[in-house]
Structures are given as structure tokens and as C-alpha cells.
């Protein structure tokens, strides 16, 4: 028994050395101490959390909203009897706790389900919080991920995110309002069509406002730009604010604003202003006909309607001659470098991401939630195509088609911040304070560069 424990311990030390979790000096010290037998193992616990690791069950931690929106997760957990399921101490994209633990080369958790690549993945890599999945994720799973999503989760050829919940920016509309306005009950194909329909909604009196969007750049400026061209990132990975496509998108936003509720530019009222945004209130209050956001938003807001079945969804409109792309992002799993149970974590995340009940609940909705988030795997869509379940709505196939052209926002340390820094500046054009969109966007570039120079 004693020899067996010593052997396990030696193997653990060797693995930690290979994983660069300790230097050779520490490795030799610990190995020498281990020579003391079990007494030595007791002493070793002062060096790290080896004893804890041996007894610790798989410990995943989830962003709170994932649990709220996906009630099927406990079912998956039941297949892993020892799992120590937890809610992550994060809000508003905060990763402070993870970074603090990584600095001590420690992690309370093994895997974090809630990572959005363009938002936090680069920061987590910089801070040495996470490690790639490549050594743990089965090859058949890697091959099954839709290529654009795989690209989103990859940095320097390594996959740091295991995609789970896919959010795609598309179009939602209120069929009741649209019909009352005498418009066809279908997705507008072009932005021109979209704008003229929004006008028609207002003129007919069917609703006070024609259209709305979320003013945060990654939810409006970026996808609108992608609908013209997705080749809009600089060589260093930043959004090309001064490119023609972004300028067109900004002018489009101004056009939509003229048919929208006056508070469209205001910050949201939760998660540091990024959630609880005015567009959601307008759509929930049935005051607007058309809506561009990730599908989860119209689905959630339609629950407040007189008839939630009036919700329709489709892809993002195109610019004439445009690429017809959009923006998507996945919320997936990150593997903590200093966590434990890594093989088990991979097994768990695979079970979670392939769970048919979770996808049914997400797409068709449950009594408690209707997130509308989609899977990242080709095989799931192919299975539904070959044998379509009765709960599968049409928009899923439309979105799947768009995913081949869709592109995620490029990963960068300022992937999210560039839009937060830029928003008040490009809004000077949207509000009419600056007449030239290029001047406004050049100021955005200058501000982002200035912030990057600071560090």
C-alpha cells in the first residue's frame, strides 16, 4: 500500500514536471522528500495540493446564466456520479479569480464552462490560466467541429476552447406586427429591403418603431460589417474600423436608428452595461417590428408577448453584392492548466456538448427557458437533416447554412475592449455630432492604439 502510494506520487511529480508546473529544483526536492515514505508524503502536502488532487472529484464550474438557460445539465451530471458541479465566481466577463489562482499555480476547478473566445481566451492564455485541449479532446470530436468554430477556438494552432453553445447574430421579427403592416412574413434578404420594411411598420402604425439592434459593437457593428465582408481584421488581429465595410456598417446603423426607439444607444442595466439593453425592452414590449441580435435575445423577449408564437427568425440581411456573412461566437469550456482530472474533464465536456436533450431544450425551449443556442458539431446538424425531429424549427437550417460563411471576431487581447473603447467615439457620428463616419472611425482607431500602447 505504502509503495503504491509512493509510486502514484512519483508519477504525479513527473507529470507536473513535464507540464512545467514545477522546476527541476522543486521536482528533486519533492522526490527526495518522497523517499521518506508516507511521512514524506505528508510533508509534501506543504509543497502543493497533491493529496487533495488524489481525492478531488471532477470539479467543473459554470457561468451562472448557462445553468439558468439549460436545465438539462443536471441530467448530464447524473452520468458522472462524483462530479462536484459548481457555479463560477464570475460576472460581466470577469476572470479575476481564475487569474489569482493561476498565479499560485493552483485551481479550485478543473474546467470552466463559460469562456467566450474573443472576449477572454487570449487573456486567460496570457495569464497562464488555461492550457490547450489538444492532448485530451478526441480526434473525432475535433473533426466534427464546424471549421469556422474550430478556427474561433484556436490560437497558434492549439485549441484553447472546447465550443459548446453557439450564438449567431441573425434577424428576428414580430409576425403579428409585420402582418399588420402588410408585409410578407419572411426574413428581409437585403438591408435595403430591411430598411424599407422598417419604414412600412412605422407608417402603417403597426408599431411605433421599425427596427432595433444591440448597440454594443460586437453585436451590431461587427456583424453588420461581416454581412458585407468578413475580411475586416488587421494583421495584428484588430477590427478594421476604418475599412470600407465597417464604414458602410456604421452608416447602416445610423439608418436603422432613424427607425428605432430613441434610447437605443444607452448602456444596458446589468453585467457592466452589456446586458439588459434597451433593444430587448423594446422587442419584449412589442414596440418594434424587426430585431438584429443573437437568437437567444428575441427568443427570451418573445416570452413576454401576447402570443409568443408570433416570433420568427432568420439570417442577417445582406448588403447588395455583399458576402452575406455574420458574426457568431461560442461559449465553451476552458481547461484549467493547474486543475486536475483532465481526461475526465474531456469526457465530461464531450458528454455535455453532445447531449441531445440539451440541444432539444435549447432549440425548442422548455417551460423555464428558451435560449436558442445551437451546437457546434457538424454531425448533429447532419443527423437532424437526415431525420428531422418535429421540434426542430426552420431557422436552424438557415443558420447552419450561414455558418459556412460566418466568422467569429478575431481573438486578441483587445478583442472585446476595442469595441468598448470605440463605442462612445463612433456614436458621435450616430448622434450627428460628427458628420463624417471616417473621421469618427479614425478616432476610434487612435483611441484603441493609444490604449494598447499603455499596455
Amino acid at each position: 500500500m505504502r509503495k503504491e502510494k509512493e509510486l502514484i506520487y512519483q508519477q504525479q511529480l513527473r507529470q507536473d514536471l513535464l507540464d512545467h508546473k514545477m522546476d527541476r529544483r522543486e521536482f528533486i526536492s519533492k522526490t527526495l522528500t518522497a523517499g521518506l515514505g508516507l511521512a514524506g508524503v505528508g510533508v509534501i502536502s506543504n509543497f502543493g495540493n497533491f493529496a487533495q488532487a488524489q481525492s478531488r472529484p471532477l470539479t467543473p464550474t459554470f457561468y451562472q446564466w448557462i445553468e439558468d438557460l439549460h436545465p438539462g445539465i443536471p441530467q448530464v451530471n447524473s452520468r458522472f456520479p462524483d462530479v462536484n458541479y459548481q457555479i463560477a465566481p464570475v460576472e460581466g466577463f470577469g476572470i479575476e479569480r481564475f487569474v489569482a489562482e493561476a498565479k499560485k499555480k493552483d485551481s479550485t476547478w478543473d474546467v470552466y464552462v463559460g469562456q467566450t473566445p474573443f472576449v477572454e481566451m487570449t487573456a486567460m492564455i496570457e495569464a497562464d490560466v488555461i492550457e490547450p485541449w489538444d492532448n485530451y479532446i478526441p480526434k473525432d470530436v475535433i473533426d466534427d467541429i464546424i471549421p469556422s468554430i474550430r478556427e474561433e477556438c484556436t490560437i497558434n494552432g492549439k485549441m484553447y476552447g472546447w465550443p459548446f453553445l453557439l450564438d449567431v447574430i441573425g434577424t428576428g421579427w414580430h409576425a403579428g406586427i409585420v402582418k399588420e403592416a402588410g408585409l410578407p412574413d419572411g426574413a428581409p434578404a437585403t438591408w435595403q429591403d430591411y430598411l424599407s420594411r422598417a419604414d412600412q411598420v412605422i407608417e402603417s402604425g403597426a408599431a411605433p418603431f421599425g427596427a432595433t439592434f444591440d448597440a454594443n459593437g460586437w453585436r451590431s457593428l461587427a456583424p453588420f460589417t461581416h454581412s458585407l465582408s468578413s475580411d475586416v481584421y488587421t494583421s495584428e488581429g484588430l477590427f478594421d474600423f476604418t475599412g470600407d465595410a465597417a464604414i458602410e456598417a456604421l452608416m447602416l446603423m445610423k439608418n436603422i436608428m432613424s427607425k428605432s426607439h430613441p434610447d437605443i444607444m444607452l448602456a444596458g442595466t446589468s453585467d457592466g452595461g452589456v446586458n439588459g439593453t434597451p433593444d430587448e425592452v423594446a422587442f419584449a414590449a412589442q414596440r418594434v417590428g424587426y430585431y438584429n441580435k443573437y437568437f437567444n435575445a428575441p427568443l427570451r423577449m418573445a416570452q413576454y408577448w401576447d402570443n409568443p408564437k408570433d416570433l420568427r427568425m432568420g439570417p442577417l440581411p445582406k448588403f447588395a453584392g455583399g458576402e452575406g456573412s455574420t458574426v457568431f461566437w461560442t461559449t465553451g469550456a476552458a481547461l484549467f492548466k493547474h486543475g486536475k482530472n483532465k481526461e475526465k474533464a474531456a469526457e465530461y465536456v464531450k458528454a455535455l456538448t453532445y447531449d441531445q436533450q440539451i440541444w432539444k431544450d435549447s432549440i425548442a425551449g422548455t417551460e423555464t427557458a428558451h435560449p436558442g443556442q445551437l451546437p457546434p458539431y457538424k454531425s448533429l446538424y447532419a443527423g437532424w437533416k437526415s431525420s428531422q425531429p418535429d421540434w426542430l424549427p426552420d431557422f436552424v437550417d438557415l443558420v447552419r447554412g450561414q455558418l459556412d460563411q460566418a466568422k467569429a471576431i478575431t481573438n486578441h487581447l483587445f478583442g472585446l475592449q476595442q469595441f468598448q473603447i470605440g463605442k462612445p467615439i463612433w456614436e458621435s457620428y450616430l448622434k450627428g455630432e460628427e458628420r463624417n463616419p471616417r473621421v469618427a472611425m479614425q478616432k476610434v482607431v487612435d483611441a484603441v492604439q493609444a490604449e494598447m500602447k499603455r499596455g
Binding site: P262, D263, L266, P278, E427, G455
Partner: protein, 331 residues
């Protein structure tokens, strides 16, 4: 031998440091009858947990922040922090955003502080004058209701109240009075010019009962014969209030002003909830700027963020010193 040494040490502690002579297997104490050291210094022994807690959770973080503010410490990297002297301070003081954000916090304080002192003071005086004790108790309870509502509920309540599209305030202004339409109704929250006044109104309402209780306690401590004597001498109610009651409430006002000045300059939660990280927003104060730099932007420049915190704190200290001078006792 080691046991003897342990005994000697314990005895030393228990005998005011009398020398303990150790011999093999034998222990002798020289000097007068021992008086317990613990008994003599028991005040310090009882204070020790608090002192340690204070040093670890109050003094150490402050010292650490001061040290960090003189380094180029970036939290997202594992690079060691390098000493940069006053570079961070120079950068902070030359950054227009620092001054703008400090100005915004001061603007909020200028609205919040008078409201949070004057209104509770007047309410306390009114309630203090109520002769019917039952009625006075009812008023006190009503006043205290906001103070016992958890912060989360307060924020949710006021977020709904102020909502541009579905909030009751705009509903009243548009649907009931017809003074506005839904195209030009006031935008209370979300980074507009009305956001800081809106938050100030919410904060004043929230602290109404809590602050009134302070003044009610102060009023109860004023001897009743003083205002009565003044009235007999012909003083009006206003003169009684101004010359007798107010001067005796000054110590309470000083405490409240200092406490609330600190909290109002250091507000962060409300700004995060009602304004976000928009740098042009009135709610982007120095506290948000500091948080943004320390935990949001780039490599998390905590050295620079610490300097923001130090500059903000020093500015507050200077102002508090001036406030203490203004409200000093003139008896």
C-alpha cells in the same frame, strides 16, 4: 532538557520576565513572588486578534497598493514588477480621463451629499416634533423601510422605475400628463446627463431613514430646557432651529458628511449597473477607471490602476480635512 526549556519559557511569560534558571531536571525561579504577566497585560492579549486582523486586512493591503503604484505591475503577465518611481503618478495626473472621471465623482457628491444631510435632518426635526408617540413610531418605521431593503432589490426597483420605455416615471410623463412622447421622454439611465442625478435621487431615498435616525438620536440628546428657554425669551422656531438645534447636531453632521463623502466619491456598483464602461458616460468616474484598468483592459495594468486609486484617495483625504475644519466645534 527541551522540556525544561519549555517550562522555563512559560514561567518567563507568567513571571514578568523574571529570569528562570534551568538546571538538569531542576527549575528554580529567582526574585519576588511572581505576578502573572498575562494578568498584567491582558488588555493586549485580548486586543491581539483584532490587531492582527486589522494589520492583515487593512494595513497590509494599503501598504501593498502603495508599493504596487510605484511599479509597472501587470496582472495578466508573470513578469516581475519593476520599480518605476513616480511614472504611474505622472501618467495618471497627465491623463485627461483621470480629471474628467474625478470631476464626475465630485459632481455626483455635490448632488448627493446635501441631499443626504439636509433632507434627513429636516425629516428628523419634523418627526421629533410629533407629540403623538404612536404616530412618531409609525413615521420612523416608514422612514426606515428603504434602509432595510437589500441593495440588489433597490437596484432592480429603480432600474424599473427609471426605464425609458416601460418605467412608471416615463409612463406618468407620457401617458398621464402628456408632457412628453416616447420619442422625447427623459432618458434617465444608461450614460446620459440625467444618469448621475438619477442615481443620486435613488441613493438619497435609500439612505433617508438611516440618516434620519442619526439626527433623531442627536435631537433626543439636546436638553429640552434649552429650546424652551429660547422660546420664552421670544425666539421663533426658525431661530431655535438655527441657533440652538443645528449647532448641537454639528458633530453628527460631521460624522455623516465624512462617511457619506467617502462613500459617494467611491461609488462603483451603481455606476457599473447603470452606466457600464462607456468612457464618455457621466458614470465613468475614477473608481470605474481604476477597475477598468486593473481588471478589464489590456494586460490589467494594476500598477497604473493603483496610482489612480492613490491619487483619488489623496484628493479625498485633502477634502475630508477641509470638511473637518468647516464642521469643527465652535462651542
Amino acid at each position: 532538557m527541551s522540556q525544561d526549556l519549555l517550562q522555563a519559557t512559560l514561567l518567563w511569560l507568567l513571571t514578568r520576565g523574571e529570569t528562570a534558571k534551568v538546571t538538569t531536571g531542576n527549575l528554580a525561579i529567582n526574585g519576588p513572588t511572581p505576578k502573572s504577566w498575562l494578568v498584567e497585560h491582558n488588555n493586549w492579549v485580548f486586543l491581539l486578534p483584532t490587531v492582527l486582523f486589522f494589520l492583515w486586512y487593512q494595513v497590509y493591503p494599503i501598504v501593498r497598493v502603495v508599493w504596487i503604484s510605484f511599479t509597472d505591475y501587470k496582472y495578466l503577465t508573470n513578469d516581475p514588477a519593476n520599480w518605476v518611481g513616480f511614472d504611474n503618478y505622472v501618467e495618471v495626473l497627465s491623463d485627461p480621463l483621470m480629471w474628467d472621471s474625478l470631476g464626475r465623482a465630485a459632481y455626483f457628491t455635490a448632488m448627493f451629499l446635501p441631499g443626504t444631510i439636509i433632507i434627513p435632518l429636516l425629516l428628523a426635526v419634523l418627526i421629533h416634533g410629533v407629540q403623538n408617540q404612536r404616530l412618531a413610531t409609525v413615521y420612523r418605521v416608514i422612514l426606515l423601510i428603504p434602509a432595510v431593503i437589500p441593495s440588489t432589490l433597490v437596484f432592480v426597483l429603480w432600474k424599473w422605475m427609471y426605464n425609458y420605455q416601460i418605467g412608471p416615471i416615463n409612463h406618468f410623463l407620457v401617458e398621464v400628463t402628456g408632457w412628453f412622447t416616447y420619442r422625447n421622454a427623459p432618458q434617465w439611465l444608461g450614460g446620459t446627463d440625467l444618469t448621475l442625478p438619477s442615481v443620486a435621487i435613488m441613493e438619497v431615498w435609500w439612505g433617508l431613514g438611516y440618516h434620519s435616525v442619526f439626527f433623531l438620536a442627536g435631537l433626543a440628546a439636546i436638553p429640552k430646557d434649552l429650546p424652551e428657554a429660547a422660546r420664552i425669551d421670544g425666539a421663533g422656531e426658525w431661530q431655535v432651529f438655527w441657533h440652538i438645534i443645528l449647532p448641537r447636531l454639528q458633530p453628527i453632521m460631521l460624522i455623516l458628511v465624512i462617511l457619506r463623502f467617502g462613500t459617494s466619491m467611491g461609488v462603483i456598483d451603481e455606476y457599473l449597473i447603470f452606466g457600464g464602461f462607456n468612457r464618455e458616460s457621466p458614470t465613468y468616474t475614477w473608481t470605474i477607471f481604476m477597475y477598468d484598468q486593473a481588471f478589464k483592459t489590456g494586460l490589467w495594468r494594476q500598477g497604473f490602476a493603483a496610482a489612480i486609486g492613490m491619487v483619488g484617495s489623496l484628493a479625498m483625504m485633502v477634502f475630508v480635512t477641509w470638511l473637518i475644519y468647516i464642521f469643527r466645534s465652535r462651542d
